[in-house]
């Protein structure tokens, strides 16, 4: 049997074309000389140059990065804590309910999450700005982190922690010196996931952002309504690059960790 038949090749091409053709076109046109988006007039990087001088975009980019860093960091801490408790605490009432509730926001429509957060912020009189976006992004990114971390914790040998306690560690020391270094790859990939999610979120950010703070996706969305400019193409290309790096990084780290675990297990099996 041929490993690469015509059918396979066609299916693969079609599938990937469907997924990536729009992005490729966007990237190509970001290097277009012409101001008209649909007419190719030669290669140029001038839109990237203009982008750098566009203060509104740069401000929005700065806000976005700030929000992404803060929210993903807080989400990682909270998500790891939640995962730890839900995996570790063996018996307490309503455990199943709690773990279900952790995962529920994953499937919740973003519009509803955004709207509920907006109502909450108005209710408690919190001015919308960078802080509110950070809080909102933390809320939904935390679920993703806790899913990633808890899947690692499930396969974590609990006797390692007991051994640490047995050797004189306080529970916090045991977590810091033994558990955390071992689950670190999962925590880091959780952070990267949260970071990229925050970076490209539009719906929740548009509910919780105020006039003082606009994130890049919001800026692009509003700019496009006035007509697509090659500048937007350039900006989108940069964002695609950042997100791609983030996703590839996260998957590489978790793949490396699982490979290492596999190697260790094989070494153990060989005895």
């Amino acid at each position: 049997m041929k490993r690469f038949s015509w059918f396979n090749a066609t299916a693969l091409t079609l599938g990937f074309a469907f997924l990536y053709l729009p992005m490729v076109i966007l990237m190509i046109y970001s290097f277009n000389e012409s101001k008209l988006v649909t007419v190719w007039a030669g290669f140029s990087t001038k839109w990237y140059g203009e982008l750098i001088q566009n203060e509104a975009f740069l401000n929005a980019a700065w806000v976005t990065i700030k929000v992404a860093v803060f929210s993903s960091t807080i989400a990682t801490i909270l998500g790891t804590m939640a995962a730890y408790v839900l995996v570790r605490a063996n018996r307490f009432k309503g455990r199943t309910l709690f773990s279900g509730m952790i995962y529920a926001p994953l499937v919740m429509p973003e519009v509803i999450t955004g709207l509920s957060l907006l109502l909450l912020f108005i209710g408690i009189g919190l001015d919308r700005g960078v802080l509110t976006i950070v809080l909102a992004h933390t809320t939904f990114a935390m679920c993703y982190v806790s899913v990633v971390v808890s899947s690692r914790l499930v396969s974590f040998d609990r006797s390692l922690e007991e051994a640490a306690l047995d050797l004189g560690c306080s529970p916090w020391q045991a977590f810091r010196l033994v558990t955390l270094p071992i689950i670190a790859p999962a925590v880091i990939s959780g952070w990267l996931l949260a970071f990229t999610l925050s970076l490209d979120d539009l719906v929740i950010a548009s509910f919780t952002a105020g006039p003082s703070a606009t994130t890049l996706p919001i800026k692009i969305f509003s700019a496009v309504r006035l007509g697509v400019s090659p500048e937007i193409n350039a900006l989108s290309t940069i964002m695609i690059a950042i997100v791609t790096i983030g996703v590839i990084g996260a998957s590489l780290i978790s793949k490396q960790a699982s490979l290492k675990q596999q190697r260790d297990e094989q070494a153990a099996a060989r005895g």
Binding site: A163, L165, D166, G168, A267
Partner: protein, 446 residues
């Protein structure tokens, strides 16, 4: 030998125990893992908890380590109530079944881990770790990570790490479970050696009875959250208190019957042995080819009809002197004791070490297979039962004969293959006599 004082703190009323379980019960929901258990363990003991999985032995150990708290009752270590003391505040260390080595730390750092949690000086830690590495012969591997060493080495790292803090009590949870048999035996002796050198009290959990018998000063046989018997390995083996213990430790034949008082030197009821038909095996060998026949075959016929099948080379039959030597002389029965009625077709069993107050009770007679002798002629022994060999398991050092007694009771007899020639005349379907002395077995109530 006589001068050497025996290590028996449990028989010394002046000795105070290191560990005391006092009416300890542990429940997990509806499941009772430990059921009202009271037990003393003394300093410098090598105490083995033995039992099938789910008997509560691991729970007992985890309570000593502080990983579980008793539902009721108290556990004291050196007179101190330990119920509310967390694991990190106990002078107890544990060697985990999975070894639980920290994968992100080197062997050196694994062993130093416990010491670094104390306010010990850096130099002192280094000296102690090196001492431990030397004790467990791991000096060469100090800088390796746990996944870069073999299973046996990992087991030694786990031992070194748990001994590094010089605990009063070391708990070993199935420490040798992951090792192959040969390595396990070597490590058992190593463990005993280290226990003697360091003078630490060891409590070991195992389901392997051989391991418990080898290493332990005392063995506690557990079942369903209770300790059934605590004794030295030889007492556990030779004088089990229940059929459960007898059956769990080693191989045993169990015969149920009612006992009656034995009138001294009364002739034993002995039915005629006519029940078993004479079974004469045709001993004449099949005809063998002579020199000419072999030559014709090898030169002419072998390409056509194939290789000649050589007759199986058997050892020459034993001489009468050898046979006589293999027949062990048995003393005649002592007076007193009990008689066990267990079958209409078989003679009663004389148990002269039986408790005479049990007259009339229904008891189980337990006898180890190696205490039985097997012969083709009626031996001169206090107890001799007739049967037929159903199966023989040749294990090298010993052979186990599965004998069906008259009436269908199966019995296992084990004979040491002390001489290369001994007893090879007994084979399948042979009618044999199974004999044993009047004190070889014990009578058990349950």
């Amino acid at each position: 030998m006589a001068q050497e004082t025996l290590f028996e703190p449990w028989n010394d009323p002046n000795e105070s125990p290191l560990i005391q379980f006092k009416n300890v019960t542990k429940k997990f929901g509806d499941f009772t893992a430990i059921d009202d258990l009271t037990q003393d363990i003394y300093a410098k003991e090598f105490f083995a908890l033995l039992g099938p999985s789910g008997c509560g032995k691991t729970t007992m150990m985890r309570m000593l380590g502080g990983f579980e708290t008793p539902t009721s009752g108290t556990i004291q270590i050196a007179g101190q109530d330990m119920n509310n003391v967390p694991p990190n505040k106990r002078a107890v260390n544990m060697m985990f079944q999975s070894y639980a080595l920290f994968p992100h730390l080197s062997i050196y750092e694994n062993i130093a881990f416990g010491l670094r949690r104390t306010d010990m000086a850096k130099g002192a830690i280094d000296a102690r770790v090196n001492e431990m590495l030397k004790l467990t012969r791991l000096e060469k591997f100090a800088q390796r990570k746990p996944h870069q060493i073999s299973g046996g080495q990992r087991q030694r790292v786990a031992l070194a790490r748990s001994l590094a803090k010089a605990p009063k009590l070391l708990l070993l949870d199935e420490p040798l479970g992951a090792l192959d048999k040969k390595l396990r035996q070597d490590t058992q002796f190593e463990l005993m050696d280290i226990q003697e050198k360091t003078g630490t009290t060891f409590v070991i959990v195992t389901h392997d009875q051989e391991e418990a018998m080898t290493v332990a000063s005392r063995v506690a046989v557990m079942d369903e959250g209770r300790i059934i018997q605590v004794a030295t390995p030889d007492v556990i083996y030779e004088a089990p208190n229940t059929t459960y213990v007898a059956d769990f430790i080693g191989d045993v034949n169990l015969i149920k019957g009612t006992v009656e008082l034995r009138v001294s030197s009364a002739p034993v009821n002995d039915p005629e042995p006519g029940a078993v038909a004479e079974n004469i095996v045709d001993e004449t060998p099949s005809p063998q080819p002579n020199k000419l026949g072999e030559w014709i075959h090898d030169k002419l016929l072998s390409p056509i009809i194939g290789e000649r099948i050589e007759p199986i080379k058997r050892l020459p039959p034993p001489s009468t002197a050898e046979l006589a030597a293999s027949q062990e002389k048995m003393q005649t029965a002592q007076d007193g004791g009990l008689l066990l009625n267990w079958s209409d077709k078989n003679p009663t069993i004389i148990v002269s070490n039986g408790d005479e107050t049990k007259d009339g009770a229904t008891l189980t007679f337990a006898i180890r297979p190696e205490k039985l002798n097997i012969s083709k002629t009626k031996p001169d022994a206090p107890n001799a039962l007739q049967g037929k060999v159903i199966d023989i398991a040749y294990l090298g050092n010993v052979s186990t004969y599965y004998v069906e007694l008259i009436g269908g009771q199966m019995i296992k007899a084990q004979m040491a293959n002390a001489r290369r020639l001994a007893r090879r005349d007994i084979t399948w379907e042979d009618d044999v006599w199974v004999s044993f002395t009047d004190t070889a077995g014990v009578l058990l109530e349950r």
